[in-house]
Symmetry: C2
Subunit: 470 residues, 2 copies
């Protein structure tokens, strides 16, 4: 049966696009390296029609299907034993960019940074922005409803997507490809397939929102006394600028210490190391903010400087560095974007992705740290956060790799998060790694409704089986 499927797939896609045996090697792991997939084959369809044909063939043979895009996921979403891995990498056309309508019509295999470049060439901006943007693809970002550093201003992937094309389990093609900001024609199917991690179908194309390119940025690294003061600071900055804050990234001492250990070449911004380091970036499109002044300075940078100087007088900012050029700005961002590298370079680690309401971030950090220290004094904790979204990535480095202990630590964090009205899964997706949390923490009726939808659309449970739902 397997051989017959492979023969059919080769007939459909051509032998170079049906990879078996050792040829599958580049596709078997994601960024964490924590899961190793063993697919029957990796196939690389070149069009939506070919994806549909692949899914029909898989349905005929009753074989499971796992989609793969840039493989920068962090939750084991690619894992399979014996399923067919469908890579969307050849669906890599930017079909159209319409500057008047401010949309890009793209296929699932387009790498985010290519879309950034294509938009920039038209003085537009695609706001989805995170460290892996040079490898991550649109399809993966949509499947996991990826977040990143600009969510505060522009929203997550779901809110950047206007239209979607999806191939369903039986090979039908669902066409929701419009470019509208208002569309109330029935159930929000687009939103349902976004974030479903391939368990309901494979996303093959999308209409993504573009926004006017910020014509100026003003970026600074700030030393702050405490997390609660950082939140007051965020409000003050939003008030002063009228919501121009694009990123507000939290790097506590635990993060700076680990960065310093792992990458001593980078250097720290402040000595002595403050309890809290914040990376803030404003972005502006308004003529009055972006037209250089007679002395060559930017009104936006002046606005940031004036505001920070007020905040320093008030004692909310202890010290500040303002980026004077693009290379200083890039250096500031590099400190933040090394988060994944410095996490995964030290093993064992327990990686998390929680969000709580803004007013609960400080109680969460304190509550969890106290419990962790009582439970395992030898464990170290590191945090980094998209603070404006209440989204904290807490990493625990336990003394030894012990899956049971690791799960117990995750449970402790979940308990604190749930008590504070938060979620165990903010922006990376559920995949395999958060299924226990889904079972323990998600409303049981919500789980039942999800299972009913899954059953309705994928009755044989062949679409990325074992992911998302417990």
């Amino acid at each position: 049966m397997t051989q017959a499927l492979l023969t059919d797939l080769i007939a459909c896609l051509g032998a170079p696009h049906v990879l078996t045996g050792a040829d599958r090697a580049p596709y078997l792991t994601d960024w964490t390296g924590a899961y190793v997939a063993d697919p029957l084959a990796v196939v690389r369809p070149g069009s939506t029609a070919e994806v549909a044909e692949v899914l029909r063939l898989a349905a005929q043979r009753g074989v499971a299907v796992v989609p793969a895009a840039g493989r920068t996921g962090l939750v084991g979403g690619l894992m399979t034993r014996g399923g067919l891995m469908v890579s969307v990498e050849r669906l890599n056309r930017i079909r159209d960019i319409r500057p008047e309508a401010r949309v890009a019509v793209v296929e699932a295999g387009v790498i985010l940074s290519r879309l950034h470049e294509a938009a920039a060439a038209l003085d537009l901006y695609f706001p989805l922005w995170f460290g892996a943007r040079g490898s991550a693809m649109v399809g993966g970002a949509l499947s996991t409803n990826a977040g990143g550093s600009n969510v505060l201003r522009y929203g997550s992937t779901r809110s950047l997507c206007l239209g979607l094309e999806v191939v369903l389990a039986d090979g039908r093609v669902l066409n929701l490809m419009n470019a509208l900001h208002k569309d109330n024609s029935g159930y929000a199917l687009k939103d349902m397939f976004i974030g479903a991690e391939g368990t309901l179908g494979i996303i093959t194309a999308a209409v993504m929102k573009l926004v006017p390119a910020p014509r100026a940025h003003a970026t600074a690294t700030l030393a702050v006394r405490s997390l609660p003061e950082a939140l007051v600071l965020l409000n003050r900055l939003q008030q002063a600028t009228g919501g121009l804050v694009e990123a507000f990234e939290y790097m506590p001492a635990s993060y700076m210490r680990r960065l310093s250990e792992a990458r001593p070449d980078i250097g720290e911004p402040f000595t002595p190391r403050p309890d809290v380091t914040i990376l803030v970036e404003l972005g502006a499109t308004a003529t009055r903010d972006t037209t250089p002044l007679p002395d060559g300075s930017l009104p936006l940078t002046d606005l940031l400087e004036t505001t920070l100087s007020d905040l320093m007088e008030d004692g909310l900012v202890l010290d500040a560095q303002i980026a004077r050029n693009e290379s200083q700005r890039a250096a500031m961002w590099q400190r933040r974007e090394l988060a994944a590298e410095i996490t995964f370079a030290r093993r064992p680690f327990i990686d998390t992705d929680v969000a709580v309401p803004l007013d609960a971030v400080a109680p969460l950090m304190e509550g969890f740290e106290a419990r962790l220290q009582a439970f395992e004094p030898a464990a170290e904790m590191m945090a980094v956060a998209h603070l404006g979204d209440g989204n904290v990535h807490l990493t625990v480095f336990p003394p030894t790799a012990d899956p049971e202990q690791a799960d117990r630590i995750v449970e402790m964090l979940e308990e604190e998060v749930q008590r504070l009205g938060g979620t165990f899964s903010a922006e990376h997706g559920v995949g395999l790694s958060k299924r226990n949390s889904m079972r323990r923490r998600k409303d049981p009726v919500a789980l039942a409704v999800m299972a009913q939808i899954k059953q309705a659309l994928d009755p044989d449970n062949r679409m990325n089986p074992g992911k998302v739902l417990p």
Copy 2:
């Protein structure tokens, strides 16, 4: 059987909240008056638990259920013959407002203007804003994913909702009540129930986003030569202000003429009547825009004046009136918000609610007007639009009431809209009135998937049957 159900309902809710016979009268029509419902009874549960019990009783007896909120809908969503109408009016508590987290936890029966007032008391703003806000309720706005005048800046109801509570067909309560800006814990159930118009369950409560209250508005009425020039004008205003445009409402000569006929007391802003009248409003939260200048004027108003004076020099604005106080601002808004009244006051009328990409609005208007004139020269057309969203409400006044001719006119409009990549249903919902359009224009695979979801969650088709799906 019917009597047994009524007895059970009275035992559950008390007789004053189970209305039959003539007591049902206030509940039988919506704003259009086009549909008259004939429910078995109207029930008014006072809590989520009572809604759940009502739905369990209805399920036991196999009776259909139709939810009702403020009854300001325009698509016949309340219509039933023999079903049980469940009014959420007594679920009218604002459970909590958390200014730090900028959220309001509200029940489905809270009237929008009450939420506006409660938010304003805390220097916050609930952005959902349309003419019927004094009667419309949160539950109805969520069920229809209502739009309105501020969508350009703040999004539709779906994007203002963080958490949801829904009672399902069998009486189970789905609890998705969180206050998070990022939550990737499984399928986007919240988004699916929003806009489902009661066909998948009854929304009983929600967590709604609040935003910092604009501390200043600047409002103007503008005379413009043409629709394409109005769109250039919108871009120029956004560019100059950095996206502070909260509303950009289009009132062509056809609208002003009808307004003048129906409400001669209101007066027109410009003589002679220009082809295009625009209502524009900026809103600002930034200290620098909202701190009065030494002469008492607002920087925001100055920004609008300066920008408009540049635009008049460039010939894009022919004439402008700037609101100097709240009563002038209210008078400007009144002209726009009389749209429903002046539409429904002349019969017969054909009411529509379409959206196209911004660059397609002018071709749509021209294409449809030409076809309409060829088809029925005696028909008059009137338009009004949330132009920033590409959302046009085209009203046709045919010479006589002829349902077949009316459907043919709607079809002609649909054809133009579809050709331009638009939707026949932008912000009012589908209900009964757009089911033919759903059948004719929606992707057949999308319709099939919606039917699969409906079947999974409401296998007996008892939740607002006959609505939304064709």
